[in-house]
């Protein structure tokens, strides 16, 4: 019996469809379904409440505070990662002695586990015994110990640690693209009298556009939903209240308040915000590219 090519095709994609349904469609649908319930996180107690969870959160000052902190955190980290990442990639694209070694070193923060990185940073930033305060006081910049993970500086510390940890991703992506830009373009520009800055603006940046489009999209999604770095920085002491971003708040609602319904609602809201952002982003920039 001969199986038609159409049926063969369907059979071949079935495993993939199954995996996507099991790992993507089901969890997302279950999360959305949960958001309509008042449900205990672990006990089998639940009541259908319709949109009440959404209404509750829209009136919840902590939700708005988390959204604010999350926006500040993701916007600042993405901007700095992109700027520092591009600068680092441009430097690493130049020829100099030990370039390969430096390229390896730059990747280091991205390669070490987050938990290790955060533990190291917490000790470096310790107000009483940390190396950074010791250094700042020794050279006379600070007179009193600065509480880097206290109320006033924890957001700045978090942003800087996150940028340190994730900018190598931008470096890798941009450096990869830089290496494929035809040198003829630069040579022609030089012949036409273009300086370094002008070459960067008129050749390098336009060539990087597609890469940056993807990098900004991915990093925006990852930073907006970043949980581990934020959470670990405040475990065992840390002014958690002042960096309680949306993913942290969703976690707290689910696993500390034991309100799975509200936790799911927060997750769905985050999902919605990201979809809206992605749609606007695509509309604004992808259309310009004509792709």
């Amino acid at each position: 019996m001969k199986i038609s090519s159409q049926k063969t095709g369907i059979m071949l994609i079935m495993p993939s469809v199954f995996v996507i349904c099991a790992l993507l469609v089901y969890p997302v649908s279950y999360g959305i379904w949960l958001s309509f319930f008042r449900k205990h996180s672990f006990f089998p107690e639940q009541n259908f409440v319709g949109l009440a969870n959404y209404v509750y959160l829209l009136k919840d000052p902590d939700f708005w505070m988390s959204l604010r902190y999350g926006t500040i955190y993701s916007f600042s980290t993405i901007s700095l990662q992109i700027i520092i990442g591009i600068i680092a990639a441009l430097i690493l694209h130049e020829s100099f002695r030990g370039r390969n070694f430096v390229r390896g070193i730059v990747l280091f923060p991205y390669m070490i586990p987050t938990v290790v990185a955060i533990l190291l940073w917490k000790w470096l930033l310790n107000s009483e015994f940390g190396l950074i305060n010791y250094f700042l006081r020794t050279i006379g910049i600070a007179k009193e110990p600065i509480s880097w993970i206290g109320k006033d500086h924890i957001m700045t510390s978090l942003i800087l640690i996150s940028v340190w940890e994730f900018f190598p991703f931008v470096v890798l992506s941009v450096l990869g693209r830089l290496q494929t830009i035809p040198p003829d373009l630069y040579e022609a520009a030089k012949v036409d009298g273009a300086g370094a800055f002008s070459r960067f603006i008129h050749i390098t940046l336009p060539q990087l556009r597609n890469v940056l489009f993807v990098v900004i999209l991915l990093r925006s999604i990852w930073m907006f939903t970043k949980f581990d770095t934020v959470w670990l920085l405040t475990q065992g002491g840390g002014a958690e209240k002042y960096i309680r971003t949306l993913p942290v708040y969703a976690y707290m609602r689910t696993f500390m308040y034991y309100q799975a319904g509200l936790g799911s609602t927060l997750a769905v809201i985050m999902f919605g915000i990201l979809i809206a952002f992605a749609a606007i982003y695509f509309k604004m920039f992808r259309r310009e590219e004509g792709i």
Partner: protein
């Protein structure tokens, strides 16, 4: 033909292997899963030794003991329950024990208590796990919070008596504060702020929730407590809110702070390990009985005493009880207690009188620290986290949610770090707690 013979030999071997495997499976040991919060290497080794001796006596039982950080334990218990595969026994916060008992998820431990001898257990300990006529939790060891101070520095300032009231304490904190030394250090993380809030409320004669479960955060007692906390911050390191428990001890043995309000006996080991050798004793680091607030008459402290809980729905609960009976036998229990001797106050009176226990070098050296703990325990001055009255354990099963929510921590932060007016911060916390209790179906007002 030869092929067939070879085939038969291979088949025979495979069948024998399968039969052996099946035999092993049928004769399999009963597994008892034990989760505990003592992650330090000495305690883990002691538990491993006890398990080995138990298994040697009971070849049909296998004990799988797992040490978990306290921060992970409650979540793991809940996940195990939700998945229908809880461990046989586990440590947990007293409020967790109360919540799970309230939901009917625990099995009684009366057989274990009778085996140890009810009279042999300190009264305070019995109150933690007894609900109605049955025991649903039995504490592994108790360690009370301690007000640790630098005795040498206090002497230098002519301070020989400990503070009786919060006012005295503030005076002492001020006197001990110098350019190089903070008067007092307190952890800023959620658990310890909750611990301290409960403790100070009790010491000020207040309550956190009334009989209808309505939060009492806007009352006079809470205001006085927050005011005291705010005053204290004048003598604390500026970034205290970022300090965890271990960092506050580092402030003590690292000679950055003269007093530690939330110390524990466990810290004596840290002092021995990290303070200069000549200072690692009670001439330098001693303890005072804690002061009380303007609304209170007696000191109050918190007691760190996770009970063992036996889970309904676990596979081998009877074997787990046998293991716990073995655990509390004097020799085994002593080995466990001696791993953190100043923090693990034994639950049995017999062990507290035991000669080997009393001869433990650390116990002799830090005797004053244990005497204060015994004073608290004998006079019923200590309670578990957020428990003001013993009946709260049975009647307020939502304390676990309150603890996790961070509502109390946010309130303290707003008052001490953000200069929010007391009335505003307490009203916000009150509203949040009321909403939490209403959503959880606990509100009776």
């Amino acid at each position: 033909m030869q092929f067939e013979k070879k085939y038969r030999v291979v088949l025979g071997m495979v069948l024998s292997f399968v039969i052996v495997l099946c035999g092993t499976a049928f004769a399999a040991q009963k597994v008892v899963h034990v989760w505990h919060t003592e992650t330090n290497p000495l305690s883990r080794t002691a538990i491993a030794n006890i398990v080995a001796r138990f298994e040697a006596l009971h070849p049909d039982i296998k004990v799988e003991a797992e040490a978990l950080a306290w921060g992970d334990l409650e979540g793991k218990i809940m996940a195990g329950l939700a998945a229908g595969s809880p461990p046989e026994v586990s440590h947990g916060q007293p409020v967790t024990c109360a919540a799970l008992q309230n939901k009917g998820l625990l099995l009684p431990l009366d057989e274990l208590v009778n085996h140890i001898g009810e009279e042999n257990i300190w009264d305070q300990i019995k109150k933690v796990g007894k609900f109605g006529d049955h025991y649903y939790g039995l504490v592994h060891a108790a360690g009370t919070s301690l007000l640790v101070y630098r005795k040498d520095l206090a002497k230098e300032k002519g301070i020989v008596e400990g503070p009786k009231t919060w006012e005295d304490f503030l005076d002492i904190a001020e006197a001990l504060t110098t350019d190089d030394m903070y008067g007092v250090t307190i952890p800023g993380d959620n658990l310890f702020i909750n611990i301290l809030t409960g403790e100070l409320t009790k010491a000020n004669g207040g309550i956190l929730f009334d009989d209808q479960n309505r939060p009492q955060f806007t009352g006079k007692s809470m205001m006085e407590m927050l005011d005291f906390w705010k005053e204290l911050t004048k003598y604390m390191p500026p970034g205290w809110e970022a300090h965890g428990y271990l960092e506050t001890f580092a402030n003590m043995y690292g000679q950055k702070a003269a007093m530690m309000y939330q110390g524990y006996g466990r810290g004596a080991s840290l002092i021995e390990q990290y303070a200069p050798e000549h200072m690692a004793n009670t001439d330098y680091f001693d303890v005072w009985i804690k002061p009380h607030g303007p609304g209170g008459t007696k000191p109050a402290a918190q007691v760190d005493e996770e009970p063992w809980m036996l889970f309904k729905g676990s596979r081998n609960p009877q074997e787990a009880i046998e293991f716990l009976k073995f655990f509390y036998e004097d020799d085994n229990y002593l080995e466990y207690i001696q791993t953190v001797p100043i923090h693990f106050f034994p639950i049995t009176k017999s062990l507290r009188r035991n000669k080997d226990y009393l001869e433990t070098p650390m116990i002799k050296k830090w005797k004053g620290w244990l005497d204060v703990q015994q004073y608290y325990l004998e006079n019923d001055l200590v309670k578990p986290t957020l428990i003001i009255d013993w009946k709260d354990l049975a009647e307020k099963p939502y304390l676990m949610e309150i603890l996790g929510s961070g509502i109390l921590k946010d309130m303290v932060m707003e008052v001490t770090k953000e200069d929010v007016a007391l009335e505003k911060a307490t009203a916000r916390a009150q509203k949040r707690a009321e909403e939490l209790l209403e959503r959880g179906g606990y509100a009776k007002w």
